[in-house]
Symmetry: D2
Subunit: 126 residues, 4 copies
């Protein structure tokens, strides 16, 4: 069964068989991640939430979505590799930071950004 | 030790404690992924490859890089969740597809896109 | 009254007073354009079309929208300047190209991409 | 000779001949702008500043660059139109705001962001 470390190994082998690490500067990898994120975004262009809800059960759409999500993950693994980052540890740390930035009491059922929450909080304290 | 499934569980708990799933349409999650990708990109703005190479060993830069990578991964997990996608399986499949699109013989040491490789290949066949 | 050429002149003066052209590689200017586009996108995050329709008449939102649109235009002028491109001529040419890619008869009232229109067209010819 | 207002008129005619305004929500127009910005970014992918400098005089590259710049401008005009924004006025205002955020004395020859300039300024005042 696949785990993130074994996917990373497959990816490194794929890269090294093609001698591609020479192109993998942090800047170009991050540019590439942005291009793949944009391809995900393109799947939503001109589509309402209702249309996207229907497409979610369409196999052709699902395959595109899966492929684009995969491309984002693959570049993210390469970026983390070049940057010396443990992706899973970083994600665990970030969930903790977000939990502090968005206390349940203030953010329950609200889509406000934490900077707006702080302003609300200050107003309440006034 | 953290694996992707346990990170996903932490994330879902974080989301549900705040009653945020109601905001998580596929379109807005993908928009959010693009915003986080752009924050990664901002870390490279106005910086040469040489400067970024030096920053890679700077703890403050590393923390920013780790945080932004984490944000991308977290939204990717939410998108995969809403879209019914197994992210690790999708990544494994995509590496296989890429291996077919970029045969070692044609792509070794080359940064050309597969569409350009095809043209090269056609020219060689002429 | 402002026209695009006089805005471009103001912008070049702003840039040269700060001795900033040295940073303006095509790559970093295009990265910057993407960051500004993302700031525009952030204005729509977690907002339905109905909410955005209401915000359109909110002066604070309008000012943010105007500022982010302006940032995109300013980087676009710098990119065109470095790339030796006449932006207005390019736009006029592109409208003509689009008119050929999207013939009225095939694209009236349809949000399909021209690549999909071609497929439709081929099917009809079958 | 083309000016921005006449390009806008051509664009509106193009749109209305195809009955496309119905699709032009602010959110989808801004998504589309981001997709076009990403196509510009793709032109720089895997290319060093030196390579891009050489490409700048290559007619095929110039045409792609011109077309992608044009696409960004066309969506920007549509966004400004839907948002009730005078693009040239907004750009003129933004140059003034930027001149205040980036005083010549502090920002001459520096690529630092204004938030970092403020910190520098505070440190100097200490």
């Amino acid at each position: 069964m696949a785990d993130l470390a074994s996917i990373h190994q497959l990816l490194i082998r794929f890269r090294d068989e093609r001698n591609w690490q020479q192109f993998h500067t942090l800047k170009d990898l991050i540019i590439s991640l942005n291009l793949e994120s944009a391809e995900l975004l393109e799947l939503t262009q001109w589509k309402s939430d209702a249309m996207l809800g229907q497409l979610a059960s369409d196999p052709a759409f699902q395959e595109k979505l899966a492929d684009e999500c995969a491309d984002v993950l693959l570049y993210l693994l390469l970026i983390a590799g070049e940057g010396g980052i443990d992706l899973l540890q970083a994600a665990e740390n970030k969930i903790k930071k977000n939990a502090e930035k968005y206390p349940v009491a203030q953010s329950y059922g609200s889509a406000k950004k934490y900077t707006e929450l702080k302003q609300l909080s200050r107003k309440r304290e006034d």
